[in-house]
């Protein structure tokens, strides 16, 4: 009995273990399945739907009369689209660049073991807690020539002082940069500060022993160590730049005229207020294309070099 039982038991045990094993294997997948399905449908499904709509002549409601790439052709011929696209390059480039430089600079200065570091850090970080709508409205008042800075300086007696970027079609896009940099550079500073604190002191000491000057240490030792921080900062800032919608709406309203329009506001205006869903979808697809064109090479090079390093 006992001899016949034990092989049976021995035979049954692995089966049981493998069933349990299969279950353990499957549980994560089962738990993840709903959220995967939801994001497949709501993110990728709607992306595909937007693409389909961009090939139709949809106006007020989606229709399925396909017109090929006519909406894209029309978009290419649209002045306002080019203004919006150029603005995104200007705004995105300056915003990401200035935030990185300012953020890194502030972080390095704060890292010099100064007094009251905690409260200074808080001061710089707080703008991030505001929504872009609040930032936009505050800067709209500050930059309004008859209410804000210009009026104040003129009130001090400098009658010739002019700072009318907000109402100047050529300069309006730079007011967006000012407000966005004000809001986000403190956050970049916090990222860099965390990165700086994570660097092993012994590397810096070693460099000092080798006789490297302080600027040289920062340029050749510290900054290369911070590469992952730059990577995350660029990722976060560039998606803020491309998605910027609320800031434009609150600060300039896309104006004067449509001088400070960005692709996101262009898309919203055409799809939802001007009953041109087809054209709006086409511009949304181009935005997606633009994002991918920047992100894929960057992600690829960063992730590959990290794997090698």
């Amino acid at each position: 009995m006992s001899t016949s039982l034990s092989p049976a038991r021995a035979a049954r045990a692995p089966v049981k273990r493998s069933a349990l094993g299969a279950l353990t294997d499957w549980i994560p997948r089962l738990v993840l399945a709903p959220s995967v399905a939801v994001s497949l449908f709501f993110v990728y499904g709607f992306m595909i739907w937007t693409f389909v709509l961009s090939l139709t002549n949809s106006r007020m409601l989606p229709s399925y009369d396909f017109v090929g790439f006519a909406q894209y052709a029309q978009l290419m011929a649209n002045d306002r689209w080019w203004v919006a696209a150029t603005n995104l390059v200007v705004f995105g480039g300056l915003f990401v660049g200035i935030c990185l430089v300012l953020g890194a600079g502030l972080a390095i200065l704060l890292d010099q073991r100064i007094r009251q570091e905690g409260s200074l850090r808080t001061i710089y970080l707080y703008p991030m807690a505001l929504s872009f709508i609040v930032t936009g409205v505050v800067w709209k008042w500050l930059l309004n020539p008859s209410l804000g800075l210009q009026a104040m300086v003129r009130g001090w007696g400098f009658e010739g002082f002019t700072f009318d970027w907000l109402v100047n079609p050529d300069m309006a896009v730079y007011t967006l940069v000012i407000a966005a940099v004000w809001q986000a550079s403190g956050f970049v500073m916090a990222l860099f500060l965390a990165g700086l604190r994570g660097i092993d002191d012994s590397i810096i000491k070693a460099a000092q022993l080798d006789g490297a000057s302080l600027p040289r240490i920062y340029a050749r030792v510290v900054m290369p160590c911070l590469r992952p921080v730059v990577f995350s900062a660029v990722m976060i800032l560039s998606h803020i730049a491309i998605k910027s919608f609320d800031l434009v709406v609150a600060l300039t309203g896309g104006g004067p005229g449509y001088a400070s329009d960005l692709p996101a506001t262009f898309m919203y205006t055409h799809a939802f207020t001007r009953a041109q869903i087809g054209l709006g979808s086409a511009s949304a697809m181009l935005m997606l294309g633009g994002v991918l064109a920047i992100l894929i090479p960057y992600l690829y090079s960063e992730l590959r070099s990290r794997r090698h390093g």
Partner: protein, 423 residues
């Protein structure tokens, strides 16, 4: 309710509530769901009048108010409801948009009510045409706003010793005197629709209603790219010299409050601006002046709110919808609603004695211009052309107005393209 009445016990239990309702119920009582964005104080009260009238007829009113200025949010909601095959009975849709909904085959037919109530003779032809799709009435007008008004502060004008201008040239002439006493001649908000409002008023003043109709309603490329249009554009850009630097992105009611406070002397704006003056406790004719925009005395740019009716699901809903359409145009609602909203009734046979002098003037001009052809739809307020074309025109107008380097010739050419290049 009728099935309940078969049981005497329940009847007694329900008591007066049921008997009361049955007594006043018509042959068919249905439900109307009305999507609108009359949500601010006065407007909400005015919409409530309609609700009470409908309930007095025994129907049920299901309010579907979606707040958000200009109705953008409401339209998004309406589109999603229509796409899911479940539109409300009626929705606040105006101008050429009614035609777009009509083309989708979603709108009902109001010909029976229109015939019974003789809408053809009640409404001016221009207005009736907007309410019809394919020859059938599909919508009912609620009110008439006049867009070409000039609002002025008499104290500010007196301070500079000038009169209310009667032509665009006058406006430029008195500007220096006003500037000298520290008053901004013209209050304005630099938003595309406000730029377009001033633009269409200047076109109307400089070139008259016939040209206006050809250019901004029929979108005749020859008119849009003509010498007349170039002259009008030049004058329009010159209007900038009357305005202040801080106008960028300013809301219209802030501009109106500048006139009320005397920092600015005048504003070109539709008669909804009256609400701001009334709220400040001012009397028309004494504390503020309303006159037709200089040079447009014999013309009337209208902006009409209307309720478009979606196809009813059954007979009861149809009956309720017909009653709604009839009540909207009946004097009780027209008077109550328009007194609250600052506009004038959409039918011209009403006693105007309850209205103020601005509204009376507006009504007199409405009647006169519907006879002599000066009655034109407002392009800036979505009454003349479809949203896509209107948007394209807005782009050109607002860009031209704000870009110091853009020539009127280039703007006129782009206007002509805007009118014809859309899918």
């Amino acid at each position: 309710m009728r099935s309940l009445l078969r049981f005497p016990l329940k009847k007694t239990l329900l008591g007066f509530a049921v008997t009361g309702a049955v007594a006043s119920a018509p042959v068919q009582a249905g439900e109307v769901e009305v999507l609108h964005w009359w949500t601010s104080g006065g407007e909400a009260r005015a919409a409530n009048v309609l609700k009470e009238l409908m309930e007095a007829e025994g129907h049920t009113w299901k309010d579907f108010a979606v707040a958000g200025g200009g109705g953008e949010t409401a339209m998004t909601v309406l589109k999603s409801r229509a796409m899911s095959g479940n539109p409300p009975s009626a929705a606040q849709i105006k101008g050429p948009e009614i035609q777009e909904w009509g083309e989708l085959g979603l709108l009902g037919n109001l010909d029976d009510v229109a015939q019974a109530e003789d809408w053809d003779s009640l409404l001016p032809e221009v207005v009736a045409n907007i309410m019809r799709h394919d020859g059938h009435y599909v919508a009912v007008p609620v009110n008439v706003h006049r867009v070409n008004w000039l609002w002025a502060n008499p104290q500010a004008l007196n301070k500079a010793g000038v009169e209310v201008p009667t032509s665009i040239d006058d406006m430029f002439e008195i500007a220096d005197d006003l500037r000298e006493v520290g008053v901004i001649p013209l209050a304005h908000g630099g938003q595309p629709w406000q730029d377009a409002t001033v633009f269409e008023t200047v076109v109307l003043a400089e070139a008259g209603p016939d040209f206006y109709r050809r250019a901004l309603v029929e979108l005749d490329p020859e008119a849009l790219n003509s010498e007349t249009m170039i002259d009008a554009l030049t004058t329009f850009k010159r209007m900038r010299t009357l305005m202040d630097d801080g106008m960028s992105g300013r809301d219209w009611n802030i501009a109106t409050s500048m006139v009320i406070g005397g920092q600015a002397a005048m504003q070109l704006m539709g008669d909804w601006a009256k609400g701001e003056f009334t709220a400040a406790g001012l009397t028309p004719g004494e504390d503020y002046i309303c006159v037709p925009a200089p040079g447009t005395e014999s013309a009337f740019t209208f902006n009409i709110d209307s309720l478009a009716m979606f196809k009813a699901r059954d007979e009861e809903a149809q009956a309720a919808q017909d009653d709604l359409a009839r009540l909207v145009l009946e004097p009780t609602f027209q008077e109550a609603f328009n007194l609250a909203k600052g506009s004038i009734p959409a039918r011209s046979d009403l006693d105007m004695s309850a209205f103020d002098s601005c509204a009376q003037r507006s009504m007199a001009d409405f009647k006169a211009t519907s006879e002599n052809g000066g009655l034109v739809p407002s392009m800036a307020h979505g009454m003349a052309v479809r949203a896509s074309v209107q948007g394209a025109i807005f782009d050109v107008v607002t860009n031209f107005f704000n870009d110091p380097d853009m020539s009127p010739e280039a703007a006129a050419e782009r206007l002509a393209n805007a009118g014809s290049s859309l899918l």
